[in-house]
């Protein structure tokens, strides 16, 4: 699977419209959108990094998130096995934890858990929700 698709090179809104379902307010808990400032604060508070290293971490976060979202969208588009969705959910959960986004990681954990248990959730809506939450830093 090609996980290197760079979503930032596309119109993110068009990607959301074409690939992700627009959520209804009562479907998934609304979480605060993630900002660059919030990520900078996390990396500064958690690790002993200089300004250049923090820039690297912000860039790496965006690249990792783009790759993780692209992989999930592709797996859903291709109706991959739920075990693959669970693996990708696990992967994005770890990424979100390292970004200090524990609430978003919890949402990813729900996706992973449901897929691992063979439950049919609206996985696309969850992925689109995460995508929307991180639009400002992608």
């Amino acid at each position: 699977m090609n996980t290197s698709t760079n979503l930032s090179s596309l119109s993110r809104r068009s990607v959301l419209k074409s690939r992700g379902k627009v959520l209804k307010n009562n479907e998934i808990q609304k979480l605060p959108r993630v900002s660059r400032e919030r990520l900078v604060h996390h990396f500064k508070a958690t690790y002993r990094l200089d300004d250049d290293q923090i820039k690297v971490m912000i860039d790496s976060s965006a690249r990792s998130m783009n790759a993780a979202l692209a992989a999930l969208y592709q797996a859903l588009d291709e109706n991959r096995d739920l075990s693959e969705i669970a693996r990708l959910g696990h992967s994005i959960k770890g990424l979100l934890l390292n970004m200090g986004e524990t609430q978003w990681a919890e949402l990813a954990r729900e996706l992973e858990k449901a897929a691992a248990q063979g439950k049919q959730l609206d996985f696309r809506a969850i992925v689109a929700n995460i995508h929307q939450g991180f639009e400002d830093v992608l």
Binding site: T46, S60, S91, L97
Partner: protein
Amino acid sequence: MKSLIVEDDLLSRMLLLSILSRFGECDTAENGKEAVFFVEKAINTGKPYDVMFLDIIMPVLGGQEALLQIRKIENHLGIKEPHCLKVIMVTAIEDFDNITRAFEGGHCEAYLTKPVKEAELIEHLHELELIE
């Protein structure tokens, strides 16, 4: 200290690299297959790694499987404790089954959970006598 980071996620690799590079040479691999290749090559060139940080769930070849292959290579080459590669598994929280499997097989020394915490990582390096 020479270390190898095995992580499919770029951010995880960069975070570990930012910490471990303070203590010496540090290489990165993106999956278990690359890790096995790097470890074997390092042994064969006489400059083995002291420690490997190994993610468990990865594409191509997962951490558990990669670790089994590395232990087989060490066994085949007659490498025995305390000269075997020290391994710290890195995984997301709630992955206790995988952690337990790694410890039960006697194949790893410690584990870290994401988010990776600098103090915890350095404490493990002290415990394993990799740094003073």
